[in-house]
């Protein structure tokens, strides 16, 4: 809606410490603002309740992608464009590159951040399935220090997160896959670009001696939050690639997801298509 501008207060801290102090002093009163591609849509529509904002965009501590032997560490302000332009990401995490490529379009990719995508907690977000598939961890910070949580346990329900009101998402840590890996990512959106997901499936498997030695499957838009397909993973772990129980996996999926009807797709469509993507992924895995 055109410029309904309620009074707002905005702070632009110069350091992370300053930002955390403010959050600690008045927890829950300050809403972090990163790239604004989620917040501004709601604000412009006149639906945003918050009136006090903490602009994180100048915090260099939250920027950059760092690499060490074992992992890549993404500052929460990393944009989709940063992901697409980083060689190490292409090398280790092709699914994350694909997530970034299919998010909105270029102008959104230039502003939208990984931290924002995670903390916005939309069930339809497109990086979470990839992060789940790669077993990512989050580094959360507050004035009291930092803590690490497994991303798989971060989302606890619709828009419910393991994130205290005085905490920020500082980093996303993604371990580098070792050994022989298999990566699969597919988003089914409302169109080819500038589209919200109706179903999104990302998977990573480590293969050893012709068997599935490690498998994580992340799903978007089929539950109140991004989820792992734990039952399916359980069923497939240790199975020989040559004879993966594809139909059994499809059945097991039923207990992993709880899709709903909304304006973009029916629950029925979502569950059929998720099953089809799973089967497609497993057929590719068979051939890996």
């Amino acid at each position: 809606m055109r410029g309904y501008l309620p009074p707002v207060e905005v702070r632009v801290p110069a350091t992370l410490g300053e930002a955390l102090t403010l959050l600690a002093a008045e927890p829950g009163l300050w809403t972090p603002l990163a790239g604004g591609t989620d917040l501004m849509v709601v604000f412009n529509a006149g639906h945003l309740k918050a009136t006090r904002f903490l602009d994180l965009s100048r915090l260099t501590e939250l920027r950059g992608i760092a690499e060490d032997n074992n992992l890549l560490s993404f500052g929460s302000l990393s944009t989709y464009t940063d992901l697409r332009e980083c060689r190490a990401v292409h090398q280790h995490f092709p699914n994350l590159v694909k997530s970034a490529q299919v998010t909105g379009a270029l102008a959104i990719q230039n502003r939208g951040t990984l931290g924002g995508n995670i903390a916005n907690a939309s069930p339809a977000a497109d990086t979470p399935p990839s992060l789940l598939a790669y077993g990512a961890e989050l580094e959360l910070v507050s004035v009291l220090g930092s803590r690490r949580v497994a991303y798989a346990s971060f989302h606890q329900g619709y828009k419910q997160m393991d994130l205290a009101p005085d905490e920020l998402v500082a980093k996303v840590l993604v371990p580098k896959p070792t050994g022989r890996g298999f990566h699969y990512f597919r988003k089914v959106g409302t169109r080819q670009a500038q589209a919200i997901s109706k179903v999104c499936l990302a998977a990573y498997a480590r293969l050893e001696k012709g068997c599935v030695a490690e498998l994580r499957i992340g799903l978007g838009s089929v539950a109140p939050a991004p989820v792992r397909a734990r039952a399916v993973e359980q069923l497939l772990l240790g199975q020989p690639l040559a004879s993966l129980p594809i139909e059994a996996a499809r059945l097991a999926l039923g207990s992993d997801i709880s899709p709903i009807d909304d304006i973009r797709a029916t629950a029925h469509y979502r569950s059929v298509v998720t099953g089809n993507l799973l089967a497609q992924m497993l057929r590719e895995l068979t051939q890996a």
Binding site: E9, L33, G36, N44, S57, A105, A107, R111, Q194
Partner: protein, 157 residues
């Protein structure tokens, strides 16, 4: 009344300072406060791209940029593309190839295309279609727009 901020930015090379609401959309600052009306509004939700501009060298939707985040920014709008009356090669190609019909998507399209050619001077058709996918056009079916971008790329060769 809301707290205002003093916003300083450069638009098409010219510096401006003005008092604005911190969450005023950069789009409104440009259109209403500074009267750069070449940049349009089609949705206000980041979907259509008719508000696209370059902010610090990157393509952004100005409807989603709060003024506070444009502080100190360097902005290019459609008004900054021509050299006086001399059209840029993209503008010229949009004109001669009929890349602009109603013209409402054209300013954003030109900025997106400028950004694309800076990153990829000779895009194939698929690259043009991906590069412009955040800029909706309802008139052209995109054919003449793709042609215009590729014509401009050829002429720059």
């Amino acid at each position: 009344m809301a707290d205002q901020i003093m916003l300083s930015l450069k638009v098409n090379g010219q510096s401006h300072s003005l008092q604005v609401h911190p969450f005023a959309r950069l789009l409104d600052v440009l259109r209403e406060d500074l009267r750069f009306t070449g940049t349009k509004e089609g949705c206000g939700e980041g979907e259509c791209g008719v508000c696209s501009i370059l902010l610090n060298g990157r393509l952004v939707n100005s409807c989603l940029v709060p003024a506070v985040q444009a502080q100190g920014g360097e902005i290019v709008t459609v008004e900054g593309l021509a050299d006086g009356q001399r059209l840029s090669s993209l503008q010229d190609a949009f004109l001669t190839q009929n890349g602009a019909q109603c013209g409402f998507c054209t300013p954003g399209m030109l900025l997106a295309a400028t950004d694309l050619l800076q990153r990829n001077p000779h895009p194939d058709e698929a690259a043009v279609r991906e590069g412009l996918a955040g800029n909706l056009c309802r008139c052209t079916g995109y054919v003449k727009i793709v042609d215009a971008v590729q014509t401009a790329a050829r002429e720059a060769r």
